[in-house]
């Protein structure tokens, strides 16, 4: 009998725990990249609108696409990158934005380079996506004095070659590659473009020969680590010497090191001759159930003060001109913002386009082949 009472008590306790976790506020579901939003700003939004924001994360555009296409969740806001937005738009997965509900939006508020990208992007992109952060690819490296000397010089001299020509590097220098089909393939194409100079090697090439060449490149090299956010952390902890990263990855680690007062033993080089330039944007997928609230959320993050707070926490470069200027003038962040890799507009960057399912699968195949059988 005592057992029965005990179990009854346990069941009630659990029921209580479950109920306590219940929230009666309206919920807004956001699908974002890891550590890509300032939670304090989100909290202010929650308070102002008396709602709860549920932040879910994905580690790649393909993963976000999987979730939206397969309707895995009732996401109201997704923050994918350019080419994935193009794909979602083509497949009818996005809801057109009603700018009357986004008063903070002003067609001229974005950086001119970014605006040029938008103007030349797929027809109607401005009706569906509001830019969030932008950047390029970069090569993050470990330059701890006395331990890893010379890595900086190697990276600056050889740029994309460090990923594919192992004999250029001393034996104790370890290299990591980004675990995303599109970006890994892009790195290879950038390498081919800057070393061979016999063809264009566009990042949006549809030439199967190019993809065969990329596949061969990966077959003949091996990396110490394949990862996404893990790469930047490995470089910081000195378990990796060179890694392909997104430009903002460096800055978010840099801010963190400043906050904790740790020594800064890493840096990033942003090749300018040829690079990829990208922008992420807020979109409303067709899985959204709170469309008006989603518009309010987008509007909230277009407010300049909120955007400034967001950008200094996340580290990436904001798309809003006023925000970039504010960061450059702020005494605390001016030094960081003057880093050559901070402003993506300085690169000769090519933006990704959606190339169709077949090429997307081919890129996935290259990534799989690069790893299997090691």
């Amino acid at each position: 009998m005592r057992m029965r009472k005990f179990f009854l008590f346990l069941t009630l306790l659990c029921a209580a725990l479950v109920l306590v976790g219940c929230d009666n506020r309206e919920k807004l579901y956001v699908l974002n990249w890891e550590e890509y939003i300032n939670r304090d700003v989100v909290r202010r939004f929650e308070e102002e609108y008396n709602v709860k924001v549920v932040l879910d994360t994905a580690t790649s555009n393909e993963s976000m696409y999987n979730k939206i296409k397969n309707r895995a969740g009732k996401y109201d806001i997704v923050i994918p990158s350019d080419y994935m937005i193009e794909r979602m738009y083509q497949e009818g997965l996005l809801i057109k934005l009603d700018y009357s509900k986004i008063p903070n939006y002003d067609a001229s508020m974005f950086d001119p380079h970014l605006q040029e990208l938008r103007d030349n992007y797929f027809q109607g992109n401005e009706d569906y996506a509001v830019p969030y952060f932008w950047g390029s690819l970069g090569i993050m490296y470990n330059n701890k004095p006395g331990v890893k000397e010379g890595v900086k010089e190697l990276v600056e001299k050889y740029e994309w070659r460090v990923f594919f020509e192992k004999d250029l590097l001393p034996a104790n220098v370890t290299v990591g590659m980004y675990d995303s089909s599109r970006d890994a393939v892009a790195c290879a194409l950038l390498y081919l473009a800057t070393t061979r100079r016999d063809d264009d090697y566009s990042l949006n090439t549809t030439n199967p020969e190019h993809y065969n060449m990329v596949e061969n490149l990966f077959k003949n090299v091996s990396y110490s680590q394949w990862g996404t956010d893990e790469l930047k952390m490995s470089v910081v902890s000195q378990n990796l010497d060179i890694a392909l990263v997104y430009s903002g990855d460096f800055f978010d680690q840099y801010y963190f090191a400043l906050e904790t007062g740790a020594d800064i033993t890493f840096d990033m080089h942003m090749p300018t001759e040829r690079n990829n330039i990208w922008f992420d944007a807020m979109v409303i997928p067709n899985t959204a159930t709170k469309v008006d609230l989603a518009h309010a959320f987008i509007n909230f993050f277009l407010d300049v003060d909120n955007a400034i707070e967001n950008t200094i926490h996340v580290g990436y470069c904001s798309g809003i001109t006023e925000v970039i200027a504010a960061v450059r003038e702020d005494e605390e962040f001016a030094e960081i913002a003057s880093h050559p890799a901070y402003y993506p507009g300085a690169v000769n960057g090519e933006i990704y386009r959606h190339l169709g399912q077949d090429i997307a699968l081919r890129m996935d195949e290259i990534l799989t082949k690069a790893k299997i059988g090691r």
Partner: protein, 275 residues
Amino acid sequence: MKKYSAFATPYLIWMLVLTVVPIILMLALSFMEIEGLVFSTARFSLSAFEKTFKREYLIAFAQSIKLAGLATLFCVIIGYPVAYIISHLKIANRFSFLLVLLLPMFTNLLLRVNTINRLLLPEGFMKNVFGISLNFSGTEAAVVLVMVIVYLPFMIFPIYTVLEKIDPSLIEASKDLGANNFQTFRQVTLPLSLRGVSSGVIMVFLPCATSFTIPYIVSRGNIKLIGNIIEEKMGLTNQLSDYSVGSLISILILVVVMGALYIISKIDAEGETLL
């Protein structure tokens, strides 16, 4: 007692719905070409077969078998003696001693794997506190090591259970009949304990072969085993999902598992002593 056979019926229905129906669904998906999970776009196709029996996946499959096999082998080599020693300990609560060995199982798997992985990296706690700098992470051997550390208790437990049940008078009789320790072990204990060993082998081999967290974390993203491929095809990684191929591979694994179950049911007629 016969009256209670009715209790089994709801369970039968429950298991049919949650085990058999998904299998049928996955079989159906294996023969389809479909956009995501939108069934209106489904068409009959054998393309999943073509995509699954590619060279890379077969290599991944072979590598999964190899690493899981090695891990299982080490688990047997280490686990059997441990179970044997504990079952022969002359202390009052042997079972508690066993539970002590199993306590690490209560630590979250991902937490344990990440922690061990960090210990195997050149820079970090191991180097700064103990002065030991290993560069072991990222290798196949590291993956096998972590598999052993994580799954060893799963090997020890079934072997111990079976060894405990061996009637001590059998051992006594063997000794009385003139056999020495080694002969007794080989002719009496070992054959009787094989059931436990086969349980243990299955409880270790299958999770190891289909694991995706351990290979990904410990190999630093380098090794892709069959578990990682399923994970990828089911839309849980950075690559595009393909439910047809994922379903097909899952069905194939299920077939292998059913095969193992069939083998168990032949060795152990009642098929009940899995634990």
